[in-house]
């Protein structure tokens, strides 16, 4: 009986992509994909998605460990807060970032006045927006793994004389690697597809803030064929990343 809903689910995911493939103008594909604007958008997307994935890992791993290991009551609230970017419409996320880091935002104002740094309309803003929306994916998958594993290995490591930092580095992190791998892939995919928060917080300028999804939207205004071609490119990149990284991350017991 499962095959009916399973088939429907698959159809829901696959058929729109098939529709996209059917509408692609293959004759013009090479020309559309190698235009300056497309290449700039692709390069920018790859660079920013990689950077925000790195940020997600550097900041998300400690956060997941704190959330999974802490027993204080406030942590329950924190856990809900961390998930917020998952349910928040990305545009609202972008607005929230503006209210924090924009020229009139309290942190943005401080940065502007003290250091002369302005975040909006920069590539930094793109990375921040992507990290904001992608971080929960990493934290959630890591926290699940951490809770599943418990802290028995860490306790043993402590009795063997390992200091907390050594325990984290030599036990916690290696045990987390499979979950870290799949979490990072999810984050990367989410960062790559990020649109709403980026366009709201960072704007859209070729080579600086116009990532591939923004370029797709931009092209859709003028030339649907070009938008379709770019969307296809986005799909190919995402599929390659997931196909290459995910199985290894999920099955590769260290």
């Amino acid at each position: 009986m499962l095959w009916i809903p399973a088939g429907l689910a698959l159809a829901l995911v696959v058929l729109p992509v098939v529709g996209l493939l059917a509408r692609t103008d293959y004759a013009r594909l090479p020309e559309l994909l190698t235009s300056g604007a497309s290449l700039n958008a692709l390069r920018l997307s790859l660079v920013t998605a990689v950077l925000s994935t790195v940020l997600c890992v550097l900041l998300g791993v400690p956060l997941a460990v704190v959330l999974a290991r802490s027993r204080s009551r406030g942590v329950r609230v924190l856990r809900a807060v961390v998930l917020l970017p998952l349910v928040l419409p990305p545009v609202v996320g972008g607005l929230a970032l503006l209210f924090l880091l924009g020229r009139n935002g309290f942190l943005g104002y401080l940065l502007d006045v003290t250091a002369g740094v302005r975040i909006p309309f920069t590539t930094t803003a793109v990375v921040i927006a992507q990290t904001f929306v992608a971080m929960p994916f990493l934290v959630v998958s890591l926290e699940g793994a951490l809770r599943g594993a418990g802290d028995r290995y860490e306790r043993v490591a402590a009795t063997l004389g390992a200091r907390p930092w050594t325990v984290f580095r030599r036990v916690t992190v290696p045990l987390l690697l499979p979950a870290l791998g799949s979490g990072a892939v999810l984050s990367f995919a989410r960062a790559l597809g990020e649109f709403g928060a980026t366009i709201t917080f960072a704007g859209s300028l070729e080579g600086v803030t116009r990532t591939l999804p923004l370029e797709v939207y931009n092209q859709a205004e003028a030339d649907v064929d070009s938008a379709v071609a770019l969307a296809l490119l986005l799909i190919v990149v995402a599929v390659v990343v997931i196909a290459v990284a995910r199985p290894r991350a999920l099955e590769g017991r260290p």
């Binding site: 009916i4 924009g102 909006p120 960072a202 704007g203 859209s204 803030t209 931009n218 092209q219 003028a222």
Partner: protein
């Protein structure tokens, strides 16, 4: 269960696809209009419904190019009011327009600034100032195309911080204080009220944007479609459009 599910699914699909005439005797008129027409067409919708008993006007407001794509993909539409000729041409080329489209309004660019114009922007040439964060529309959308035209005509080259996807996004960046100035349409500043001020500049005459309207050949209610088009083109339409800042054709 095995047979019920696909049947139910088909019902849902059909119900949403075939909805021109509702069962209770009211007739629906689908009007696809550019987002910048929200306010004016909202008023015209009420007037039209008051004059035509049993007619429900449904406004589908979005970017003109989106609307054109939707119409060409077969969305149920009776009237199309576009913010530029290019998108009307797309529908016309596909054979979707009944008769010839007619221009019913014009719009031109203005500079949106924070209330009170704190940066002292005086004209288009000022937008090239290095101390200003300027935001414009992307060249692919009508306001961006108009901006490029003005740039060409004046020889002033802008270095915008961002090329936004539509006029509202440009206006929002100015409203939030992230941008010092943005190039938008006169009507947008009118609808934003006292949240922004505008600085008009004579060079905007060089890129007047014309709004065409047409009844569509696929219209389910061709007679009503013509009547709505005529309302927009007539005196009542003129009055509402002027009220929100549009120019006469």
């Amino acid at each position: 269960m095995r047979k019920l599910l696909p049947a139910a699914l088909a019902c849902v699909l059909v119900a949403s696809a075939c909805g021109t005439s509702a069962g209770d005797g009211t007739t629906t008129l689908n009007v696809f209009a550019a987002a910048s027409l929200t306010e004016a067409f909202g008023a015209l919708e009420k007037q039209f419904e008051a004059q035509h008993e049993g007619v429900d006007v449904r406004l589908n407001l979005a970017g003109s190019s989106q609307l054109a794509s939707q119409i060409n993909e077969g969305a149920p539409a009776d009237v199309f009011a576009s913010a530029n000729e290019k998108n009307m041409d797309k529908v016309m080329d596909a054979g979707g327009v009944e008769g010839r489209p007619q221009t019913f309004a014009t719009n031109q660019l203005t500079i949106a600034v924070a209330p009170g114009n704190p940066k002292g922007v005086e004209g288009f040439a000022d937008l090239a100032r290095e101390d200003l964060t300027v935001v414009v529309c992307a060249a692919q959308v009508p306001c961006g195309a108009a901006t490029e035209e003005v740039e060409r005509a004046t020889g002033v080259t802008l270095a915008p911080a961002s090329e936004e996807q539509d006029v509202k996004a440009v206006l929002n960046k100015v409203r939030l204080g992230e941008a010092d100035a943005g190039l938008v349409y006169v009507t947008d500043v009118t609808s934003a009220g006292d949240k922004v001020d505008s600085v008009d500049f004579p060079e905007s005459e060089r890129a007047i944007n014309e709004y065409p309207i047409a009844a569509l050949s696929s219209a389910g209610e061709p007679e009503l479609a013509r009547q709505f088009r005529d309302l927009v083109l007539g005196e009542v339409g003129r009055k509402e459009l002027t009220r929100v800042g549009f120019g006469a054709p």
